[in-house]
Symmetry: C2
Subunit: 337 residues, 2 copies
């Protein structure tokens, strides 16, 4: 599955393969929506749970094809989150009579702007397909239940200057040089580490990119730094936006994308039962996940998956095969009831 490239926007071949594989099982009803696939058991159980995972990855970074070395699987998407998707697929195929009805959701475009998110699209095209008593996202958590998630905000901070011929730079103002001010703010920034409902979060503020330049002979009159603010769930998107404007006061700040976080959802009965079955001590989820989207739909949700979040999106992304097997067997036992 890792070797079927599925960078955001190019999930078609992998979605086709999942769709075709699951349609072979008579205990599942399968629906396709773009590059998302939803497979459901219809056993009239008193409760229903969602097992959800995104099938897209960040851009490949010289880390395909995959390889196995010493029981560890290396490659783009191994941690985030094709190992979780693999567990979904095996449970969907093999657990034909679970104690609760199960909805398996495979969706596209989680790694890009939230308006392209496949789960958001599903929630508009087919909201009934996501209704459940509890949802589990198999995002990388290192086999520990992670509650809530941080919000994420993207903004463009624009530095302005004045064009001039580069042989007479002193006639203009170089916007790229002036962008040092923005980068120095980023280098000096210290993120909050608040405790929310008993879990410790850790904020961060980072440049995701920078661009500036008109032509080789021209002093550039504009430089744009794209910044990403990861904020704890005690801040609303509005408060996060205000904070960005404070931090970059003096520059023009344009919001491009914001997704609120979710406070830890571990108080619900369903979440507590799942935590007990998986073992370990829950912790805060730092990365934004669609936990927040389920939360806003009124469905309690947690993150739980075999990948190591610390290596997600890195060239050295990997997952131990034993971790996949361990998560799978715990979830299989829990679904059996």
């Amino acid at each position: 599955m890792v070797d079927v490239e599925s960078v955001s926007g190019s999930e078609g071949p992998l979605a086709d393969a999942i769709d075709a594989a699951l349609r072979e099982y008579p205990h599942l009803s399968v629906v396709r929506d773009g590059n998302a696939v939803v497979a459901r058991t219809e056993l009239d159980r008193s409760h229903r749970v969602v097992l959800a995972g995104h099938i897209d990855t960040v851009p490949v970074a010289g880390n395909l094809p995959s390889k196995v070395e010493g029981g560890v699987l290396y490659g783009c998407g191994t941690s985030d989150m094709k190992s979780g998707v693999a567990i979904q697929l095996r449970l969907a195929a093999e657990v034909t009579a679970p104690a609760v009805d199960v909805t398996y959701v495979f969706y596209d475009c989680e790694e890009v702007e939230s308006e392209r998110n496949g789960l958001l699209r599903l929630s508009k095209n087919n909201p009934a397909s996501l209704i459940a008593d509890f949802a589990i996202l198999l995002e990388p958590t290192g086999g520990v239940v992670e509650g809530g998630c941080q919000g994420t905000l993207r903004a463009e901070v624009k530095v302005e200057g004045e064009r001039a011929h580069s042989a007479r730079a002193w006639m203009g103002r170089n916007a790229v040089h002036a962008a040092a001010g923005v980068l120095n703010v980023l280098n000096d920034y210290r993120g909050r580490e608040p405790e929310v409902d008993g879990l410790r979060y850790r904020e961060g503020l980072n440049a995701g990119g920078i661009r500036g330049g008109v032509a080789g002979n021209v002093i550039p009159d504009e430089c744009v730094v794209t910044v990403n603010y990861r904020f704890a769930p005690d801040r609303t998107p509005e408060q996060a936006a205000d904070h960005m404007r404070d931090v970059f006061a003096g520059w023009h700040v344009a919001l491009t994308d914001v997704a609120g976080g979710a406070r830890p959802g571990l108080g619900s009965e369903a979440a507590a039962s799942f935590v007990a079955a998986m073992g370990g001590t829950p912790r805060a989820k730092l990365g934004w996940t669609d936990v927040a989207r389920f939360d806003s739909l009124g469905v309690p949700a947690v993150n739980y998956g075999p990948g190591d979040p610390a290596v997600a999106h890195s060239r050295r992304e990997h997952v131990p095969l034993a971790a996949i097997a361990d998560c799978e067997s715990r979830m299989r036992a829990w679904l059996a009831g």
Copy 2:
């Protein structure tokens, strides 16, 4: 002519118009080479001079169409150097019996990498067409003869980091943040102002652009700053490159483009006669011009044109109409002998 857009690489329509206009005059022999046009008188005079100008401009910056206000022509390329090209065209058309043979050279791609330069291409395809006793480039000089020119070197300074998921930035190293080091060097840099053969030059070091970023969720592992070093003609290209490596020691520096300067060429007899006819006190040329290319072909050359170099490549680029007329009448008188 200003309203016929001719950003580097798109000079076709303007070259066609110049070509068609000059072919109507029986005292000129016209040759086309790509988007360059060469028109020559063939009067068997004892001396030949070149009047040369580039017909391309930097990218339009909201400053087209042109407009005339208070006797001043505003618009992209008015100073650099369509006012000079206009003088070439009128002299070519109207001075049918000059005291010296004249070669009028109109060429493309002066504002971009030197390997695309139309005068360089002409010097390979048809070197005989450039041979002369003296050359004048009608680059913007504010109606003052400018001697020599500074060299220009472009390099890419690369800052490296390590990718990570942007929710856990501390697992990586943000190359865009680290680029603050390069920008701080640029902000702190003080250029030399050496005197060479009696003229004062002024060096400069500037970012022409910056780029970095992988995807919205990824801590970028590379940021590239393109820098442009304008160096006085007492330094060779090799010395300029060494200086760049010294200034940016600790980063990877890749040269992308270098063109040497030219020491002031005012010692030659032809240059002295031209200076006397134009009047005024010669000064140093700060911008790189094809003076250097003629210099390396063994043809003494100076810069002299009506545009103001201080507004070249800026949104507010302009030229007084009276300055064009003054330069034209001086050159017309000089050509008449």
